[in-house]
């Protein structure tokens, strides 16, 4: 396969089609509407299901329905739309049916704007909906990584019977880059749908998919099962990328587009003699806490950079547990910090930690 020029949003839809998605249900919202538009053209061509729903509330419940029927299914939205999906996401999590959601994040809160932002980190990682659970949250930093993550998302969703959310900011969705699509996978035929799926009670007991457990013990048993599954995911699925961490005195932690910008910061800082490395979480949940704990023992200070008012930095601090100073730099409202904005922050961190050394 050769590389082609793909826009992030269209690439999400095409990658899902290649990964064997059987149905897409969605509602237009900037800056991800091209996902829906690409599906609207391509899914009927492939003889699969496309439906523009009446709302995001309906979209996520259509996803829930199709997932209950055992079909590979996804929806896509942007920040306010994902907020509307929270109830359905919680039901899907408790019912343990596989599904994929993408959130092409925009500026918020409220109606916000349509500029790229990372303000939904808490929503994706901490408060996906009511109740005790997590989604697997994947954060791509390029169009190619987005394509690869869509395929991975469906496989993880099936493997763990869980929700996987791809959390990208609007710039990933809107930019065009050369990227390679995976080969077309065959769609799973209906007769191969999972044994738990609603396929008609032919020659077996009737299947029930519910998130209602009226007894306290029964509800806790479900929660314990969900938590055991989450621990298993934490054990197996933590993903991150590192740049120049081997000899680093300082560490940048940033995800998605910010992680990519910080690669430039690392290069420019090293040209000026600052020994800095970068850790870019790829799974926001499960978070690469153990690796950050290790690096906190190596470096003198950490700077977390985000396109929000400081969200992932809380998880970084939890992992660091005070082993070294953790500082934060971020912009909100759709402003993407540039290397020239971040480099002074890094120098300030360097000065701060050098100062603390002198005090010792």
């Amino acid at each position: 396969m050769t590389k082609e020029l793909w826009e992030g949003n269209a690439a999400i839809a095409e990658a899902a089609i290649r990964a064997g998605v059987e149905a897409f249900f969605g509602y237009p919202i900037t800056p991800q509407t091209e996902v829906l538009e690409h599906f609207s053209k391509r899914l009927p061509e492939e003889g699969r299901v496309f439906l523009q729903a009446e709302s995001e509330v309906a979209s996520i419940n259509m996803v829930y329905g199709a997932a209950c029927a055992g079909a590979r299914v996804m929806t896509s939205s942007s920040s306010p739309g994902v907020s509307l999906m929270q109830e359905g996401i919680s039901y899907i999590a408790c019912s343990e049916v596989p599904a994929v959601v993408t959130n092409i994040m925009r500026g918020g809160p409220g109606l916000g704007n349509v500029q790229p932002a990372q303000g939904d980190y808490f929503q994706a990682v901490k408060s996906a909906g009511h109740g005790d659970y997590h989604m697997i949250a994947l954060a791509p930093a390029s169009v190619q990584e987005t394509i690869d993550m869509v395929v991975l998302a469906f496989d993880l969703a099936d493997k763990y019977r869980t929700l996987v959310i791809i959390v990208a900011d609007g710039s990933i969705g809107q930019m065009m880059e050369p990227a390679e699509m995976p080969p077309m996978r065959p769609v799973r035929p209906p007769e191969e749908r999972a044994s738990w799926a609603l396929t008609g009670a032919k020659g077996r007991e009737h299947n029930i998919i519910t998130s209602l457990y009226l007894g306290a013990e029964a509800m806790e048993a479900v929660n314990l099962r969900l938590q055991a599954k989450l621990r298993e995911i934490e054990k197996n699925e933590v993903r991150w990328k590192e740049h120049n961490t081997e000899d680093a005195d300082l560490l940048l932690v940033a995800f998605g587009t910010m992680g990519r910008v910080c690669q430039t910061v690392v290069r420019e800082a090293r040209e000026q003699g600052i020994k800095v490395g970068l850790l870019r979480p790829i799974t926001l949940w499960p978070f690469p806490s153990d690796r950050i704990t290790e690096l906190a023992g190596q470096v003198k200070g950490i700077l977390t950079v985000e396109m929000n008012a400081g969200q992932m930095v809380e998880d970084v601090r939890l992992a660091v547990e005070g082993a070294c100073p953790v500082q934060f730099y971020g912009r909100t409202g759709g402003i993407v910090p540039l290397p020239d904005d971040i480099l002074p922050e890094l120098k300030k961190l360097a000065a701060d930690v050098a100062g603390s050394k002198e005090v010792e």
Binding site: L51, N61, M62, G65, A66, A69, H206, I208, I209
Partner: protein, 263 residues
Amino acid sequence: MASVDIPAGMEQVYGYPESLTPAYTHYCPGCTHGLIHRLVAEVLDELGVREDTIGIAPVGCSVLAYYYFNVDMAEAAHGRAPAMATAIKRVSPDKVVFTYQGDGDLASIGIAEIVYSANRGEMFTTIFVNNAIYGMTGGQMAPTTLPGQVTTSSPIGRDVETAGFPMRMAELLGGLPGSAYITRQAVLDVPGIRRTKKAIKLAFQAQLAGLGFSMVEILSTCSTNWHLTPVGALDWAKENMIPYFPLGDTKVSDGVRALKEGK
């Protein structure tokens, strides 16, 4: 129907539907949910589709319907059963799909989902049980609570000046081009129960023929939260509900008419 040993020369004319599980229901004495479950189950048996049927239970008194219908079932979020049914039917077009919903679920919180499902002509069937009250939460005003009707959240009676008017769902959905068969029936006496079963059967037949969306609204009772005896509740519904919610078909598409007359 469940099979029993039938003596020679005799035929079984009545039995326990195979489409119902043997579970005891949790419904209150005098509740008509059990009766309506049975009508749906008899129809599924008669059409021979039990093993190809997928049902969606609502949030409300019939939230546990999945324990009682012996078919594959999902439990929806409040009001969202039509969205789930839409998707299930789209990805499994050879299955028979139905939602079972109450008035709060269908006519209040889930009104967008039911209206759009009907308008798209989704090929599933909705059983809509209208008893003019929120039963499970303890008797609050429903979208179909009658003017002046006392509930725990309309303590001096529903005031249409502030709470608006009861929703006539059969009329609303009957006006949509995607609807194939929309009817309002009542299970308040034996002739009504027989007509309701006929309507349920026609609704599922419309689905099997791929004619579009079908819904049977069923006027029902809630003796517990109406604070009436079961028999008193039947009389109250006849006297008060039927005048506001007239019985009969609000939509019979040409295809459904042909189906009806072909019988």
